[in-house]
Symmetry: D2
């Protein structure tokens, strides 16, 4: 169990970065050791020691000293000078491909929130078209990466040097399906449908036609059917073949939150109790999953929490079920899970700073 | 072809009623013959000749005379005195069960927007628990009812005395599925999934915990999995058995609009062209359906129009497809379709007053 | 009274342009004479005769022929070849400064929806920093411009060659204030406050940090206090000095609609009836203004209508009043008013095609 | 300085109650001493020891033990048995009128979140029409009440037995105005305008026509001009006469947050620095107010924080200013301020548990 850890965050300007900063600044184990925030800073801002965090994210301002925190110009020397031991990359995947190996080489552990290191199967990675795929360094780095979902890979995460923090959609679907597949309950030949809906923060901070208020508000749109990047994570982590699942994401007119409605067929009729028991056993010891016995979870229950919320409804014939899985895409779907991984990596209580 | 038709509307105070009033007041064939608006009116309002429509729905007010229209106290004598030939019932199904037979007995044709007369199979009707189910009058009335979807039953609607206007969810799903089932394309044994999402107006005007802004806003919730009332319409109109479809509605944080994402598997691999051709043939001569070739339709495309918008995406294997079907729940999902039925019943162009 | 008018629209791709297209396509006097839509079109699209309108604005698609309409590559020759008599400019003001004089020179009347020609006072125009201000051509063009608010300048608009269509905020505030100022009711020394709130479409279609869904949703922000461009219109059209009014716009988390809350003080105590009478007299013969006697208007009443809605509440002392003025920023605040001007310019009923 | 305090909450089922529960459960000084939650509970729920808090507010559920907390049937005996020392009343004002005196009589200090005890002037109280106004008990209770805004009454709150927690609108306006009035800067004869906008949670949890999603969404409405209940608080706390301020609240289509835009005129021209200095001095030592120097605050900055955010813009003439004041109506406008008062009453750091 580690006692004092110096962290750094790259990518604090984005939505996930802001949540990560918030969680780390109030984390009980990091009292007095705020993260180093590093990134691209123009000359004028560099001259004043970086951009005050309160200018980037006014809601992070307080009257108690956080106001002094700044986004500083990134350099490896800066991280070294500050004694950074763990680096969070909340950056585009192209940058994570470059920076993660470098950090590892310098003895810094990495939690990468991008899609850069999540996929072990080359075919699944193809959708990202990484420039460096196939190089020795990339292969060696990938070999060290652990998929950062503590509910599935707690032990490996504890000792990992590189944690590939899962995708937001992927988290909501994998947590709902893995327990049932692991227990051998599902008739996979019949195919699984995962109909997922996400708030607009999932589309990132860049102003685009699709993040324009007039596009997103009072609307709902499906996109990426049969082609979304998170599909590979579902296949690898749930253990499915491509033909066994259809995953369609939708853009919801809300700021944040994901709700996935998942349709499965059982190999043999199930009772409510038998399915509930499978989930309960799988998630025993997993403090960041809440099972809903009485009613299906809703996005409102999960938003601004670090939990994944899972509930289900059985067909009268016991052959089919609808599973509803909710989470906050910026928390359990990104920064909350990253801090959960931080906890696991240091032997701290897994839910510390997340409740 | 009829030339002059006197209509009446019961239930103008609701959301569908308001849209119905708007459509009828601007309908080219009803110029100079505004509907009679009838309903429950308290004594004070009755004394002033009813409640001005502009007080009930301020957005219907104009400076051109509509201001004189009123919601008058309902009586059969009133309808008779005004020579009403066609009655729209935008009322709860309990009231439609009572009023439709009475209207028919008085020689008034009926377009009923409730669920009262949509289902021919007693088992499917059970969910409504109609008090009078099993009576001779109910059976005789049901026997006259035609399911009011012109794309499926144009000829019967033309001569129908009682048109049972379809449910909003049901319309969006039936239009997407019926062409494929009719063409024998689908592998029904694999099961169809219909994941549908609706704006809040679908939940009605009564203030309830679920229509409270704080419940609906920034939220998404699934409800009625395996139990929703519209399921019977899907089974009867598409031609499916209960085990062949799962239908889950969701409450969207938007005022109006439905998007249904529908997952099917084909008996044999299809091409984009072959599926498109099936839809095009089925909807030839159906002006209120728009087929989307290039991109999937979105709720924004359909809202405040009387169209149903249908598009689809094929899996690379050609075995599976995701179909997206959008409409405005108050228009093609209710009042727009009711006026479409009005047109068909009188031999007018089907899209008249709807574009 | 003109019978047949060939119109053209530049700037159909924007929000106001889409509404303008919708209004013109269904305008009874323009049946069979759809506008020419012209603008910047890339070579590939030019080769196919322009971009189908249904691709730009899917909600404008129908099954009745509008699908053939296209955005064509702009040239003065095109307008000439089509016999364009009236040109709507729904373009940025820089372009309107250039195109309006050219159109006038070619004998084409112009309705300009930008801020290019609204202001007669050079000091008020300063905020726009027009490149050509001070040139002879600009001065001559400005001299021909009539401020396009029929409720104030009906007669001049009828014969105008260049109509400067008012700003959206300005319309809502001028209509509320001008009647009271004209009647000499207000104590201007005490100062007027106009606190205005607008939906996001008012900020235009370009994706920016401020039109990002995550910025606008669940938010309210004030901007442009003491500096907003529409201030000059208030001063010139209401007849005020700068020190007599404070105008603060706010960005509302809704797609469209403006509500202005306006605070005035009377020279002498007024009764509800006396104020109502002033408004009624001023707007007699103005079909696009609705006066609200019973309750204050709300944005919902005005949105998707071409009306301005005005109501007020008197303080118990009769000395002060709060006036609430609502409209749809894309309709009475832009395209609806433009079509109202079209009607006035041709001697057609002022509300034609607007109800 | 007190060390251990047993609190109780009545009214936990409402929106402010939920936030109060959340704040108290994570308050560092109340670790291991969760509040007693008491209220009306039906027999069946009483039999199981009350209603689990996680059923009432699913977002309060965690996997760490809060699940055991329950809403128990209220009785004074229960509070006594638990040794309750401080009672939060998040109840309608009628109930606070009854319960506050009883609690005081039993030696329990009270923080009342309703409007029951905020107003010392009988004329200002008239709008509430309290049944017991004029009784000796009511007068004696009122005499003990301290208006619970620490920024104005810190010392009296510290020793108060009954704290009347301010209204949400009132808080946002008083904090913006009091410093300027206290410094003698304002020309009150010219009148102040306070144009305030609040999210829907301010209208309470009861489903009504006005809290229906379809009424509130995509809308903005003004209400209560010249008549809103919070007016009395403005007059008493800022020190104004009725004729010196107009206050108009509006209902915003967002769940939570208040933004007040306040228009003032100075007795003599001011500079930005002079006004900023007045605010800075007034709020020195007030950790829950954030002054914005660079840009005006927005609702997004304040929501889900316990801060009030204040900024202003000066007219070029230095005579007038627009002040923007934001807060979360459920936090600094209700429960956050209540906990701030709790801190002051016990000599704890004022911001404890609020950042």
């Amino acid at each position: 169990m580690t006692d004092k850890v110096q962290t750094a965050v790259m990518g604090v300007t984005g939505y996930a970065g802001a949540e990560l900063a918030r969680l780390l600044l109030r984390h009980p184990r990091l009292k007095g050791a705020p993260p180093v925030f590093a990134g691209r800073v123009d000359e004028k801002d560099a001259a004043r020691g970086g951009v005050p965090l309160a200018e980037i994210h006014p809601q992070l301002a307080d009257n108690a000293g956080n106001g002094d925190l700044r986004l500083e110009p990134f350099s490896w020397e800066l991280l070294e000078a500050r004694g950074v031991q763990l680096l969070f990359l909340a950056t585009p995947h192209e940058q994570s491909r470059e920076w993660a190996p470098e950090a590892l080489a310098r003895g810094i552990r990495v939690i990468d929130l991008s899609g850069a290191w999540r996929l072990t199967d080359e075919a699944n990675r193809a959708v990202y078209a990484f420039d460096d795929d196939g190089t020795e360094l990339a292969a060696a780095t990938q070999a060290q990466a652990v998929y950062g979902m503590p509910e599935l890979h707690r032990a490996q995460i504890a000792s990992a040097r590189l944690v590939a923090n899962p995708g937001c959609y992927a988290t909501s679907i994998i947590l709902a399906l893995r327990p049932l597949v692991a227990a051998g309950l599902l008739d996979l030949a019949h195919g699984i449908v995962a109909d997922a809906k996400s708030g607009v923060s999932g589309a990132g901070k860049a102003p685009t036609a699709k993040t324009h208020y007039m596009y997103a508000a009072d609307n709902l749109s499906a996109y990426g059917a049969f082609t979304h990047r998170h599909t590979g994570e579902l296949l690898e982590q749930v253990g499915l073949r491509n033909s066994e699942i259809v995953f369609t994401p939708h853009l919801l007119p809300i700021p944040r939150g994901i709700l996935s409605t998942i349709y499965v067929r059982f190999r043999a009729p199930q009772s409510r109790a038998s399915v509930a028991q499978v989930y309960r056993q799988f998630f025993a010891g997993s403090p960041m999953v809440r099972l809903h016995d009485k009613a299906l979870p809703q996005i409102q229950h999960s938003v601004r929490t670090c939990y994944a919320d899972i509930g289900f409804q059985l067909a009268p014939d016991g052959q089919r079920a609808v599973i509803v899985s909710c989470l906050d895409n910026l928390l359990k779907g990104a920064s909350g899970q990253a801090v959960q991984n931080l906890n696991v990596m240091h032997g701290w209580p897994e839910a510390e700073g997340l409740e």
